[in-house]
């Protein structure tokens, strides 16, 4: 167990300067804003599909055309829904492609420039998509698709950059809990987006898009003026230098004999550090790092389930139970609340155990159960919210961990430590594969729901969660094995 490590944390916390706090908050809120504008789209789906279709009211009374049926972009609400699902899929595919590219770009260019450019331009695209088309009364399917593809590419600059910046400032010690808490940014963004959208929705859906786009643009400007990409930018020592220093001070407590041999390689690595720090790893090399492929595939399945909840939950609630759109939006917040608590708690536990995979496996097994429970939820708002929070805890938790803490682990492992920049690339690969899975899933969800109903959608989610466990099973077996060995060794030494 790593309890002694945690008692040392007193010294660690004293090393967190106000720069660390600002970096944490800035990266946290910049990704929240990116996610908020994505969430806006899901929250206004009902209003947009009403705007695009003529009224289907069938009584003898006269309905003036200008008010009730002058928009014919889609003949019925079902067609509009299919198109909205297609837009989701298009977005996720271009987001996935963009992630692979942005990871590589972020490792080579200045992270601050890439991030603020991505935020500001994505805000402009969202403004054109949602607000300008409504003000000009110009509805066109091709335009919507093109804009959403561009938006996917621009939004993908966010995640690899923020994870890389966090990885630069926060080292291995306590990474699980810091990243667990930090990865709540996606869920906080969802909650923020849901609140903003539902408060402005009464004025018209175009104002929901306007508000989130404007706030995101402002965020991009603030990032440009306030973000420090790494401690080296203002002359503070980087985390590798600090970690090597810390390990040296620990050494005498463990094995006295080994000390002499270990210390020399340490000093030589530090010299190499300053010389070769800027070299970035190639895409193929990053893929071949141990653990990247199994976690990427597992994340593809898990992100599918997570994002399907994210995109379709308000729609499912108003479709299945008949609740109003604004209410369904507010209720879908509980899923994110569960995800935040899950990510933080599971990050903390995996820090204590110093192993990630067993924690993930247990959470995913319980997630299958909670999915079954949620699919049978009664038509009662409180019970539904509770089940939603539980499901969010067990699915969102592992999802947050894989995309943040584990990516940081993979991108900063000993194999490449200090000799190449791989963090953004690895994050891009893991999240990119995840997004492809999510994109395929969007299309499948709307297909299954159309043909077979919501129950089969839940069976599909259960299948995907099981596949996630399958993909990381070799890692689980290995890590449980080493945990048992460690316990055996301690029992033997006592």
């Amino acid at each position: 167990m790593a309890w002694p490590h945690i008692f040392q944390r007193g010294t660690l916390l004293s090393r967190f300067s106000h720069h660390h706090v600002v970096v944490f908050l800035l990266t946290f809120f910049s990704y929240s804003l990116l996610h908020a504008s994505r969430k806006t789209f899901s929250n206004v789906k009902v209003s947009i599909s009403k705007q695009w279709t003529p009224s289907a009211f069938n009584k003898s009374i006269e309905l003036p055309v200008e008010i009730w049926s002058s928009n014919h972009l889609f003949p019925s609400a079902e067609e509009a829904t299919l198109f909205l699902g297609t837009l989701d899929t298009i977005f996720l595919f271009s987001y996935a492609v963009g992630l692979f590219i942005s990871g590589i770009v972020g490792d080579r260019l200045n992270l601050r420039w890439v991030l603020s450019f991505g935020m500001c331009s994505s805000a402009l695209v969202v403004f054109v998509f949602g607000t300008l088309t409504e003000w000009l009364r110009f509805y066109n399917k091709g335009l919507y698709c093109c804009l959403w593809i561009v938006n996917g590419l621009l939004q993908s600059t966010g995640w690899p950059c923020v994870v890389a910046v966090m990885g630069n400032w926060f080292g291995k010690a306590g990474r699980g809990v810091v990243f667990g808490l930090w990865s709540a940014c996606a869920s906080v963004g969802n909650i923020l987006g849901a609140c903003l959208a539902s408060s402005v929705l009464q004025y018209g859906y175009e104002y929901a898009f306007l508000v989130t786009a404007a706030v995101q643009f402002a965020g991009g400007i603030i990032i440009f003026f306030g973000l420090l990409v790494s401690p080296e930018e203002i002359g503070l020592p980087g985390i590798e230098a600090e970690e090597n220093f810390e390990e040296d001070s620990h050494r005498p407590l463990i094995n006295g004999a080994d000390n002499e041999d270990e210390s020399e390689p340490n000093y030589s690595i530090q010299e190499d550090d300053t010389a070769s720090q800027v070299k970035a790893i190639s895409f193929y090399q990053a893929c071949c790092l141990p653990g990247v492929i199994p976690y990427s595939l597992a994340y593809a399945c898990l992100k599918l389930v997570n994002y399907s909840f994210f995109f379709w939950l308000p729609f499912y609630l108003s479709n299945n139970f008949g609740w109003k759109e604004a209410e369904a939006d507010k209720l879908s917040i509980w899923y994110d609340v569960g995800g935040i608590i899950g990510g933080t708690l599971q990050g903390f536990i995996s820090d204590v155990l110093q192993k990630r995979a067993p924690v993930l496996a247990l959470s995913l097994l319980l997630a299958v159960g909670s999915l079954v429970g949620y699919s049978r939820s009664p038509d009662d708002k409180s019970i539904n919210a509770l089940l939603m929070a539980v499901t969010g805890f067990f699915i969102g938790g592992p999802s947050n961990m894989i995309s943040s803490a584990i990516s940081a682990d993979l991108g900063r492992q000993e194999l490449i430590q200090g000799s190449s920049e791989a963090l953004a690339t690895v994050t891009g690969i893991v999240d990119g594969t995840g997004s492809i899975g999510a994109a395929v899933g969007q299309y499948l969800v709307s297909l299954i729901q159309d043909n077979l109903g919501w129950m089969w959608v839940f069976y599909f989610f259960i299948l995907m969660t099981s596949c996630t466990i399958l993909f990381i099973s070799p890692l689980i077996v290995r890590e449980i094995g080493s945990l048992l060995q460690r316990r055996q060794a301690r029992i033997l030494s006592e």
């Binding site: 009730w68 004025y203 018209g204 400007i221």
Partner: protein, 171 residues
């Protein structure tokens, strides 16, 4: 003032229309131009008995004089007073059918019933609602929103630049 067969007010809006003895089979395609009329006279015309849809928009119409064999548009329920004379029929006092029909689900969401002429009803937006399908309510104040956002962004940017990036090496 009187102008040929029309009675107009100062702004030139038609208040009365006298079309008696014009050999009209139907009121004609330009009839809706007189939708502001309060009194219309159509007696002594060979009109066909399908006048119901010709009076769309005639919400001010209070007195309608028709030939004997033509029914009041909307039927007897749409008028307060239907009197039969020797050579004509007079429909008086247009009724607002929205109140009497009493069906609460008459209009789509956020719509409300309003009279559209004798015997006719339409759904327009309820009070406070506007826009396509009456989905929108109230108006969003862009000035206040952008004012607050702009000033907040400016102050936070200056604060952060001062505390964080001022000592940053050029990159």
């Amino acid at each position: 003032m009187l102008h040929a067969r029309c009675c107009l007010n100062q702004k030139g809006i038609i208040l009365g229309l006298d079309l008696q003895n014009c050999s009209l089979k139907d009121p004609g395609p330009n009839f809706p131009q007189a939708h502001t009329a309060v009194i219309i006279d159509l007696q002594a015309n060979p009109l066909k008995d399908e006048l119901a849809n010709a009076f769309h928009g005639f919400i001010q119409l209070q007195t309608l004089i028709l030939p004997q064999d033509v029914n009041c548009p909307g039927g007897i329920n749409a008028w307060n007073n239907v009197t039969f004379y020797i050579n004509n029929q007079t429909c008086q006092g247009q009724r607002n059918l929205c109140n009497s029909t009493g069906d609460p689900e008459m209009c789509p969401e956020n719509g409300s019933c309003a009279p559209d002429g004798p015997g006719l009803m339409q759904c327009i937006c309820a009070d406070g609602f506007h826009g396509y399908k009456c989905m929108r309510q109230g108006s969003f104040s862009l000035l206040v929103f952008f004012g607050i956002l702009g000033s907040t962004t400016l102050s936070i940017s200056i604060l952060l630049w001062g505390t964080q990036r001022r000592k940053a090496k050029a990159s």
